[in-house]
Symmetry: C4
Subunit: 239 residues, 4 copies
């Protein structure tokens, strides 16, 4: 089902179409996270006791909030990327689809985390593997490590999309602020390293893994603020 | 995955991107409400008797209609907000994502209400807790209180988004009707108080809780009408 | 959460925002129809035999195709409505939300039809009720009647939205073709009557109910063609 | 619910509305693929062992990646189609809805493939049918053949939409590159034949069927590249 339809325009097109599909996938994936909270469809005649049901979902609430906020922050960064990248070509389209494949799968590690977060009791079956030094790997550690590992992959993909777009100024607009692009590029490099560290931490402590993950979400949410606030002052003055 | 891409424009951008994600999350969340009505996937060879199946879903129909209309009214108010707020910055983006986190979770309290609305029979297990005065808290009361409580949180978040946008006219357009903004601000203040009252009522009477909730939905649906009708007259004259 | 934000513009706004939410709800509802085809989540170690599984889903395929095409045709008509209706006000917004409430619920009657279409065997439990004349109402007849009845409601709602929009030319553009609007209004009147007839037919014969329903979908899909083809000729000449 | 609203404009309209629904259906269908990975809703008190759970999902990961990438590539081709097709009429709208019916059903063959890919052991029940020459048709072969067969249908529908649009230049823009359209038309013809070959191969070897399917996805993803790269050179020179 290939085509050369876009060739007439030199293979370059605008980014509206990419953003339409991307926003759709982000919106659906982020909203499907709620499925993990819902009671089983086709319930029995008598639902479980409400208090116990709500208590059993504690890990699901945590996973929902952590995943929703993180995906939301990634969405803001995905859109900020498109304040610099103004054109698209076929390779960029394909790279973005691979990135969306990753976005759409995020409810999966979120559900694993919700289901296995509490599985590190004395029960022998909770142990997935034993490290060389005899340290047991509980299911809770493995689920948190898988969760962090998913974001290692995602931050690498995000870097690949960005790198392809700015390489030789391939897809950038003419009025680009090159110093800002360089700073953005460096800030993106932090992602893979930080999530890899989180993966390793998670193998030893679920709490440390969760804590660093939350800290990274807050860091990425707040990182663009300083540059903004610097620039807000004259704006306030004008008003 | 942070970036400073938007900094070149002074940290301010239009609101199209926010509306694209918001409309997507609203559309998906509001449509996922139907999941609670569907028969269990992977049914047995012989489905349950149709009449009994439909009858067991009575609370689900009520919860579906109540939730759909309320979310729909919130969507109209969210969009009306953007007739005054014309610009966006990073903090506003983050506040809106937290608000969308709340929108996306709404199928959860809706499903709880549907499942536990009928659980206030003489069965001892239906009692979640006992108030100091010996009044039993049935599961139906608790589910209705959780449902109302969700909207306490939502109306606070809605006020926060609005307050941040209009504070110092930060994100407003130049042609703002300041009297209308003040009236809007006061009408938004009603939300948290009214839903908190509904939460307390629900603890004592599910019917009163449901009734006030429905009344609030109708109130918010019809509240913008007087100002509109005042202004419709000249329009009719022109036609 | 009400507001008077839109009042400044006389209570009238464009229709882009309505179309964004409507297209979202249509897209999600029409795509959720596939859930009824999917194997149960969390399957057993050994899935059922493939041939038997596919055979058991025969009614689901029929319901999927019938529902998808009908919703698709309604979407085309909903959009054609907006070639005449160019403005919106708060009442119109609310009417459209009630219409979307109906769109979003469509996977429910579709699932009922899929599940109960084959339930009219000699099994006594299949009989939902007995008519005065002693005619038994099988579950298959009841499911088909509910399915048709849903579209009675929908076509009434569709007429209400249309009627409100064209009444006194309230929301129409200035370049309206009034003869076309009158013909459209008459063709919309057919809907409630035809679907009501289908409901009654379904009580006596599932086949007749299905057949008329399919015929109506084809009729509504093809009805706009004559006027279009009349106008296509000069276009061809130009090319 | 038919209308003649669009007739005033000669039955021709722009393509924005088609793209809005199409992008919505693509985004939802592609994101629903993740449902097959999720643990069963309403899990038991103790989830299954994590390692075994992840291992049981191996075929689901394969099906997810294969289906997501293929649907993504089809989306890029659907959009490239609209760089040549600039107008729409009612027949084109209907053809596109039938195509979307096919897009929305794709999670179904993906789930079948995931569930039955491993069912070709010595177990007698795995055999769906026996070919005349005594060759057994395992469930895994049948599932792969159904998967490929779905794409035979899809590529025929895709050709029909394209063929209707370019026939007599009915819906094309005025600045069409006719040589490019002819090449595109020929490349689209490859689809039905290639997927039919894949269907036949799948009956004899699941591995060969999977391999050809993956090769086709890569071929269609990369096919537009040569023409693009030819044209990129001057761009690079300019920069």
């Amino acid at each position: 089902m290939s085509g050369e339809g876009g060739a007439a325009a030199g293979g370059y097109t605008g980014t509206e179409r990419i953003l339409a599909l991307s926003d759709g996938v982000f919106a659906v994936a982020i909203t499907l996270l709620v499925l993990d909270l819902l009671p089983a469809f086709g319930a029995a005649a008598r639902p479980p006791a409400l208090g116990a049901f709500l208590h059993d979902k504690l890990a699901s609430y945590l996973s929902y909030v952590l995943s929703f906020l993180t995906i939301g922050v990634i969405w803001t960064n995905h859109h900020q990327m498109f304040t610099q990248i103004k054109r698209s070509n076929h390779v960029f389209l394909l790279l973005n689809i691979v990135f969306l494949l990753w976005v759409a799968v995020l409810p999966f590690p979120a559900a694993l985390l919700a289901r296995y977060l509490g599985q590190n009791g004395p029960d022998h079956k909770d142990v997935v593997a034993t490290f060389p030094a005899g340290h047991p790997l509980f299911e809770s550690n493995a689920a948190m490590a898988i969760y962090a590992g998913t974001y290692v992959v995602g931050s690498v993909l995000f870097n690949a999309v960005w790198w392809y777009g700015i390489r030789n100024r391939r897809l950038m607009g003419d009025d680009t602020d090159h110093a800002a692009v360089r700073r953005t590029t460096w800030s993106y490099y932090v992602g893979p390293a930080a999530y890899m560290l989180d993966l390793v931490l998670s193998l030893f402590s679920v709490g440390a893994g969760l804590g660093l993950f939350l800290a990274l979400a807050i860091f990425y949410a707040l990182a663009p603020l300083p540059s903004m606030n610097r620039l807000v002052a004259p704006k306030h003055a004008r008003v």
